[in-house]
């Protein structure tokens, strides 16, 4: 009896085990593995599989059905291989926030307009999706640039979406400090997503983009202003604080002047690198062309090169470029010239500095004096609008003369100032003439009033004489 009971118990256990085994079995995975499907094999390494996400969770169908037709029955929600355009929606059933970000961005728009556009699997892979922190993931810090380059370095692919967009970003990136370090395995350095963001990527011209001109400084400062993060690189972290206070930073960030330079204007963007001593003037010369041309021919260019000094930066600084003033050209301690030169007979530059300073002062003071004279004439009611308007030409001379300072010679500065000084002289003359005319008019009025009064009195006397005569008669 006891033996029969033990046999029955064993049979029951085997039956329960068989039933239990058959209920947990994923027929999608088993069949596709049995038929040698690569996706089924790689899916076992996928983060989704490891977290219990089955094939049917994405593709639908009945993973418990033994029969293939029953398992892949559309009536049971089987989707099969999704179309590329449907993938974001499919992934979005779980990753909804990422789907929303993706659809807002330029990649989402690209996919909407063209089914060849990027979607989730373009970057993350298909059945072998790994966590971002896994170095083997195509979106890991080590691989993301290559992943982006798959499309962004392909002329044929990119011209379907934006024929004007360059395709050399990856090549440039490899030459940058960021790229070189990344290639060496440094995962802290900036990659594509560090600046462009990941799922919600906008075009550079879109003000929402972290790489739009107004946002570039804060995007770069995200790392470069973080002294803790940058400690191991041993480079300063005050660039952003300096830039914000600089003439460039104020123009861009306060005055919203999009023509003002941001970090990438001088350092490059994908090929970001600090300009070397040799190339500083060329970098500044991208915008300040005339200044650079003059500087390159000047005595300072030669001397600075000999002493390995970084050109424009010597006087103007790099990130903290202050608005230039005429006071910079002087010998006092706060002036620029005075930091190297002195007003001594043995300093050959002293007469040049004095001359340039005097020329600029001649223009600014002369302009103010002429304006004062013209205002005085205007207050007296004289019409000097034309002369006042002509005085604007002085500004042109002043701009030119200030640029010519970069020749570090007195003649070019004087030549540029000459037309302005002429306008000032003419304006002053016209102003004085108007004031003189004002007094002439009043004197003229006085004389004519006297004459008229005299004639009126004579007439009155004559009338009285006639009236008295007629009364007598």
């Amino acid at each position: 009896m006891t033996q029969r009971f033990h046999i029955l118990l064993a049979v029951l256990l085997v039956c329960f085990a068989a039933v239990a085994f058959s209920e947990n079995r994923d027929t999608c995975l088993s069949c596709h593995t049995d038929t040698g499907g690569a996706e089924a094999i790689t899916f076992r390494n996928d983060i989704h599989f490891q977290n219990g996400v089955s094939c049917a969770d994405c593709h639908g169908g009945d993973p418990s059905a033994e029969d293939m037709e029953a398992a892949m029955n559309p009536a049971k929600g089987f989707l099969g291989k999704p179309k590329p355009a449907d993938i974001p929606a499919m992934c979005g059933t779980c990753h909804d926030d990422m789907r929303q970000d993706f659809e807002k961005g330029i990649h989402g728009t690209g996919l909407k307009n063209n089914s060849k556009g990027p979607q989730c699997v373009s970057c993350h892979g298909i059945h072998n999706i790994l966590p971002v922190k896994n170095q083997l993931s195509p979106v890991s810090a080590s691989n993301i640039t290559k992943t982006c380059a798959k499309c962004h370095s392909s002329v044929d692919y990119m011209k379907q979406f934006n024929p004007g967009l360059p395709v050399d970003q990856y090549e440039k990136y490899l030459t940058s400090v960021h790229g070189k370090r990344n290639a060496e395995g440094d995962v802290k350095v900036a990659t594509c997503v560090s600046c462009h963001s990941n799922h919600m990527i906008f075009a550079v011209k879109d003000p929402r983009s972290p790489v739009s001109p107004m946002k570039i400084p804060s995007t770069c400062s995200h790392c470069h202003n973080n002294s803790k993060y940058m400690a191991e690189y041993k480079i300063p972290t005050n660039q952003f604080d300096d830039y914000v206070k600089s003439v460039h930073g104020v123009a861009l960030l306060k005055n919203s002047d999009l023509s003002a330079p941001a970090c990438n204007s001088c350092h490059g963007n994908h090929g970001a690198t600090p300009p070397g001593v040799e190339s500083v003037s060329s970098v500044c010369g991208q915008c300040h062309q005339a200044n650079t041309e003059l500087y390159d021919k000047s005595v300072h260019h030669v001397v600075f090169q000999q002493q390995s000094l970084p050109g424009c930066v010597v006087c103007h600084s790099n990130h903290l470029v202050k608005p230039p003033t005429d006071a910079m050209i002087d010998f006092h301690p706060d002036s620029l010239c005075g930091s190297c030169h002195s007003d001594q007979p043995d300093d050959k530059a002293a007469p040049v500095i004095r001359s340039m300073r005097a020329t600029l002062a001649g223009l600014t003071k002369g302009q103010a004096e002429a304006e004062q004279v013209l205002n005085q004439a205007e207050q007296l009611g004289m019409d000097v609008t034309e002369t006042k308007y002509s005085l604007k030409d002085v500004n042109q001379s002043l701009i030119e003369a200030r640029v010519k300072i970069h020749s570090f010679a007195k003649e070019p500065v004087s030549e540029s100032a000459a037309p302005g000084l002429k306008v000032i002289a003419q304006a002053k003359e016209a102003g004085h003439a108007a004031i003189k005319e004002y007094y002439f008019r009043r004197k003229g009025l006085g004389v004519s009033t006297l004459l008229l009064t005299f004639v009126v009195v004579l007439l009155y006397l004559k009338i009285r004489q006639i009236e008295q005569k007629s009364k007598k008669s």
């Binding site: 019409d383 609008t385 008019r441 009025l445 008229l452 007439l459 009338i463 006639i466 009236e467 007629s470």
Partner: protein, 358 residues
């Protein structure tokens, strides 16, 4: 000197008999009484008209009509032409003073009842001259093509459009189109320097001729006076010399105004800009403009503005025909209703003008 004068007179006399003219002038008398001062406003108006003609001709040497040239040429006149500022300022000031003296002259004639028989035609021609003077002012105001004149002309011509039936065609005729443009400017220029002066000269000649032929009106009270109680002064030289004396004073006032308060040119008109706030017509149209503002949007079934414009038209017509309806009043000689209407009109014009200026 006397010999030369008599030689010249003889030379003329041989060719043209001046005896009738000299006799007429020597015999002509002007009533002399306490209120005869008002007689001089006619002469002052005439003098200011002559000033207008002379300065206008001088301005014509440099002025160029056209949206691109009008403002610039006036600016050139006041800034570059020798004494151009003086001529332009005197032209503008004398235009305004002339309208003021014409107003005073018209009301003095009205209150003196000098429009009564046989001087009805003098009154009609005088009223026509008053209308022409206003037309001179309105057309001349646009010529510098500055912001104020442009928008004031726009508003002024718009008002004519409210007159039923004929309003719109009149506005189109004035503007030479549907809006105030450079063609309006050239049209106003033509009116100001050719058409109006021609008509004005004819009407003024008739007005002066009537005055000379009929003589200057005697005060109403003199009709009851015996001849010995009436006092006269010779037209020449007494009255003429007094006229000249006043003209010289007016000329000096003009010079003072031109030097101390030169007429501003303002900003060039920009037809695409919005009208500046508080745009108003010239002071002599201000009483009408201000009255229209006080009218409600609807008066019974009609638009308030239409009623206002028609009422002003009717008032002008009644004023013009005052010699007719004055004769029909029963009291005859001492018609006080005429005085009351006149006083009301003066108070109304002054009050509305002051309110309009504020």
């Amino acid at each position: 000197m006397t010999g030369l004068k008599s030689k010249f007179t003889d030379w003329i006399q041989e060719r043209f008999d001046l005896s009738q003219v000299t006799h007429f002038v020597s015999e002509k008398k002007v009533p002399y009484f306490r209120g005869s001062f008002w007689y001089y406003f006619g002469g002052v108006s005439l003098f200011l008209f002559v000033v207008q003609v002379v300065t206008g001709i001088l301005l014509l040497m440099y002025y160029q009509p056209g949206a691109q040239t009008a403002f610039e040429s006036v600016h050139f006149i006041i800034s570059k032409v020798q004494f151009g500022w003086l001529i332009r300022s005197i032209h503008s000031w004398s235009a305004n003073l002339m309208i003021l003296t014409v107003f005073i002259h018209m009301f003095s004639v009205y209150f003196a009842k000098a429009f009564r028989k046989p001087r009805e035609l003098t009154w009609y021609s005088g009223f026509a001259l008053f209308g022409l003077a206003l037309a001179f002012g309105f057309s001349g105001y646009l010529l510098p093509w500055n912001t104020l004149s442009y928008f004031a002309t726009k508003v002024g011509t718009e008002i004519t459009a409210v007159v039923p039936i004929v309003g719109e065609p009149i506005m189109h005729l004035l503007r030479a189109g549907s809006d105030v443009t450079t063609t309006t400017l050239t049209r106003f220029f033509g009116l100001h320097v050719a058409i109006l002066p021609a008509i004005f000269t004819v009407v003024l000649s008739a007005h002066l001729l009537l005055i000379q032929v009929q003589g200057i009106s005697e005060p109403e009270s003199w009709k009851e006076y015996p001849p010995e109680k009436k006092s006269f002064i010779p037209f020449f030289p007494n009255f003429v010399l007094k006229d000249v004396l006043l003209w010289l004073i007016v000329l000096n006032v003009l010079a003072i105004l031109a030097v101390y308060y030169p007429w501003e040119l303002g900003q060039k008109a920009d037809p695409f800009a919005s009208a500046p706030a508080g745009i108003k017509p010239e002071w002599y149209f201000l009483f009408m403009y201000q009255s229209l503002k006080y009218l409600p949007a609807k008066i019974w079934l009609f638009d308030g503005e239409v009623v206002g414009v028609l009422l002003f038209g009717l008032a002008g017509l009644l004023w013009f025909f005052v010699p007719f309806w004055d004769e029909r009043t029963p009291k005859g000689l001492r018609n006080k209703i005429i005085n009351y209407i006149g006083i009301l009109a003066v108070i109304f014009i002054i009050a509305m003008t002051i309110l309009g200026v504020k």
